[in-house]
């Protein structure tokens, strides 16, 4: 379901993930361990996928 994940920065602080699904929908996902999308991202990372990290430039 997850196609890609990118770190989002605000004032150069990592504040959330941007998760793009295979159906094209883009979700902002907070850094909250109880959030089910956050949990899905952690599983996706554990499967060997890589989060896009452009630093604080976005």
């Amino acid at each position: 379901m997850i196609n890609s994940v990118e770190k989002i920065y605000f004032n150069n602080e990592f504040v959330s993930y941007q998760m793009t699904l295979n159906n094209g929908k883009v979700w902002g996902v907070p850094l909250d361990e109880a959030n089910s999308d956050y949990q899905a991202i952690q599983e996706w990372i554990a499967e060997g996928n890589t989060v896009i990290d452009n630093g604080g430039n976005n």
Binding site: M1, V15, S16, Q18, M19, V26, W27, V29, P30, N35
Partner: protein
């Protein structure tokens, strides 16, 4: 005028049943299927997700293609106005071992503490619901404890095709494995519609036990085996004790507020924001404190305007929208778009799209 005189009022003993004293006796939220913020109908469903009715998750792997909708077909004279309809549009009459189709609701552990699960005083749970299906035969209703990986199943029979039937099932209390007292999912109520052999090849587990997958849905008929099949359900109630009381109808606003804890669709297109480093930013106060900091998606086209000395300027073409959220507020910051002309700092902006989806689901 009537008069009631008593000498003494004492607590009832024996069959005394704990009630959820904070409000609803029904553990299930939106059991009358009256709230459908996401959509009233979604076609071509082939996978897991919350598709239409609030709080009703569909687990679907391989067992056909479905249209799910909020329907007005309801049992006569029972007070219900809506049901959840599953319409099989591509059949799978030969399920693979791991295929399944399951309607379910996931429940927070902190709302279940009064059931005293994991103690000698654990409460029984009684599940009642109305069901209407094309296909008759054996069906499985299951309780699944995700904190302790335990489950219990019960079979019920749909006796007559395309006829509303009320079902009542009582599950014994579980003296093993307490629910976590937090906002995570602890208990799931599941209604199976299809189950591959991974879930049916054992013996149906009708008492609380550690999960053996093969014992979860033994005997389940396959509602996905024909495109003629429909399955409707409404009036789901799960309550402490061994008897089913009448369905607890809540006022629409109360029901909606309970759903907002898990999902909120913002249809206001007139939010007031400000401009942060040349890009629009909005803070949206949520109607209730959500279960956790929510995820958000921007489902509509952006329509954001600001003003300058000569009139209105527009912001178009954002390439991304970032979100920073707390359980009671969402902050939207657009990026990558351009203004049609110079804007005036300090006057703010208005807009943000309709259909902002905010989710803190289990």
């Amino acid at each position: 005028m009537s008069e009631l005189k008593v000498d003494k009022v004492s607590p009832r003993s024996g069959n005394y049943v704990a009630l959820n004293t904070v409000g609803s006796k029904n553990i299930i939220i939106n059991g009358d299927m009256s709230i459908a913020q996401r959509s009233t109908s979604t076609a071509s469903i082939t996978g897991n997700g919350y598709h239409t009715i609030d709080r009703m998750f569909l687990g679907l792997t391989g067992a056909g293609t479905w249209t799910q909708s909020q329907d007005t077909t309801v049992p006569t004279g029972q007070g219900f106005a809506k049901s959840l309809k599953m319409d099989c549009t591509t059949a799978n009459g030969s399920l693979s071992a791991g295929d399944n189709c399951i309607l379910q609701q996931r429940i927070e552990g902190q709302n279940l503490q009064y059931l005293k699960k994991g103690t000698a005083s654990a409460e029984s749970l009684t599940v009642s619901f109305w069901v209407y299906a094309t296909k008759t035969g054996t069906n499985i209703c299951e309780l699944y404890d995700t904190d302790n990986t335990r489950q219990i199943s019960q079979a019920y029979t749909i006796s007559s095709s395309n006829t509303w039937e009320k079902k009542t099932l009582t599950f014994a209390g579980d003296t093993t494995g307490a629910f976590n007292n937090d906002n995570g999912g602890s208990l799931t109520l599941l209604f199976w519609l299809a189950a591959g052999s991974n879930f049916t090849s054992g013996t149906l587990n009708t008492s609380w036990n550690s999960v053996t997958t093969a014992n979860r849905a033994v005997g389940q008929v396959n509602h996905a085996d024909s495109t003629s099949n429909n399955f409707y359900i409404t009036g789901i109630q799960m309550e402490a004790g061994t008897t089913a009381s009448d369905f607890e109808f809540l006022p629409h606003d109360v029901n909606l507020q309970r759903c907002y804890r898990y999902f909120y669709k913002n249809d206001d297109s007139g939010g007031a924001g400000f401009i942060y480093v040349a890009h629009p930013m909005f803070n949206i106060q949520l109607p209730v404190t959500m279960r956790v900091a929510p995820s958000c998606t921007d489902s509509g086209g952006s329509a954001i305007t600001a003003t300058n000395a000569t009139g209105q300027v527009t912001y178009t073409g954002p390439t991304s929208t970032s979100f920073s959220t707390k359980p009671n507020v969402v902050r939207l910051l657009y990026a990558g778009g351009t203004w049609s002309a110079a804007y005036t700092y300090g006057l703010g902006c208005i807009g943000y799209p309709t259909g902002l989806l905010i989710s803190a689901e289990l």
